[in-house]
Symmetry: C2
Subunit: 269 residues, 2 copies
């Protein structure tokens, strides 16, 4: 069965999300268009976070950064409304999740009226390169097995910036030996959605103790003749933000991404 | 004759610059290593400028951004001292050049003591891709003719950010017809030093009236069978900064760049 909303335009799907018609994860929606991770932070922390993203571009490839106080990603998503265009948000205060919401307009506006401006960061997501892998006939195991991609903490420190620091989080996909080189070439050509792998083959080098026990997401089958390949993961910036226990943060809920008007193919340039 | 300091290491050349032994333009020094454009701004303008660079990555590819108040590019240049490691600086106040200096330590420290913190931006430079073009047997005319690359204002607006706005400035290199495709492929593979051309062949499309009268730099010969090819130019961020007439800015003087420890070949990743 063709996934729902696969052939709809992003602007239309964002409207359906805003109207509450779509409340599900966005995986597979708007085929060919890039989806992104969302982090909304108080303006006082925005400089440090933008600097952190600049210094850790593979983990935090920025698709767009809003003007302070703006509700729109006007460069990548026409007529977008950030606090309403994602099906499910999470709000964190001092590092604790204080709720999940399908619309954060009121929270967003209340914060700006009483506490200060917010800045929204849109960070590239591996959905884009997974499409490219599938098109090249390279299997993406967690899609086959209908689970979340396995993700692991590593021993690789990110370059710190201001209040933000922490280690790289990676996602793992098992790739057949003869397709590893293609998988590297394809993903390395898409630097705005994490780029090439950080490591191929030896989980222990990254400090990963058990490949079947991911820190986030689900375990997946590694068949004979397959190699575990590790990519920088968009969970890194979220983990780093939480480390610093900021007074107020809004993010997307896992799997519920912001759908942009950017074609995946545009991310090569 | 082999150019002077071509085979020296960046750290050694930065030391010689700091000691006043080298006072000349850095063209050709430390072969294989990336050189960068410098912009030092007051902290109050740094957010807008970092956002401008994020939104205009082809014109403003960041190699490193310092912590506010820091004198060092610690990630790309070991033991560097930004106010002394460039042979010649320019200082601008409210958009007017108020002086050229071989050492701006005192100005830098005076500013920080009395007016506030400074932030230093290191922006990729086309010297890196010119080496790659030459290695592929593609001529670089302004090097052959020992002049500055011709640069032009265009009608292409940059995406504004806060106080910063302005049009793209491009550099032009005439490329033989049969090598244009190679020149595009080589430069497109190096996004941190401007990436591929913005335009090939028709200066009038960019609003350029006379290809022999550049707005900056010098005219170069276009031979029969050659096409003018236009790349985003690192003069763009400087022009945009000057447009906003900031109270205090330090930049490198033309041709006198900051030499990093980064290999040009590393800029592909």
């Amino acid at each position: 069965m063709e996934p729902e909303y696969r052939n709809r335009k992003p602007k239309e799907v964002r409207r359906l999300i805003r109207e509450g018609v779509i409340q599900s994860p966005t995986t597979g929606m708007c085929g060919g268009y890039a989806q992104g991770n969302l982090v909304i932070l108080p303006e006082e922390m925005a400089w440090d976070f933008l600097l952190f993203c600049q210094r850790n571009q593979k983990a935090c490839p920025l698709l767009e950064v809003s003007d302070a106080g703006s509700r729109s990603f006007s460069l990548t998503a026409e007529e977008s409304d950030i606090p309403r265009d994602i099906p499910r948000y999470r709000v964190y205060e001092y590092g604790e999740c204080t709720g999940e919401y399908t619309d954060v307009s009121d929270l967003f506006e209340d914060y700006q009226r009483t506490r200060g401006k917010l800045v929204s960061f849109l960070i590239g997501c591996s959905f884009s390169f997974e499409t490219a892998l599938l098109e090249a006939g390279i299997p993406v195991r967690q899609i086959e097995e209908r689970v979340n991609v396995p993700m692991f903490h590593t021993n690789i420190p990110c370059t710190p910036a201001g209040v933000f620091s922490g280690n790289l989080v990676v996602s793992m996909r098992p790739i057949p030996h003869h397709q590893v080189s293609s998988a590297v070439a394809i993903t390395a050509s898409m630097p705005k959605v994490h780029g090439g792998p950080v490591h191929i083959g030896y989980p222990e080098v990254l400090g990963i103790k058990d490949i079947n026990k991911p820190d986030f997401g689900d375990p997946v089958t590694i068949h004979d003749g397959e190699v575990p390949v590790f990519w920088p993961c968009g969970v890194t910036p979220q983990a780093v933000v939480m480390n610093s226990r900021p007074p107020f943060v809004i993010t997307h809920a896992p799997g519920h991404m912001f759908i942009t008007d950017l074609k995946n193919a545009e991310l090569k340039d």
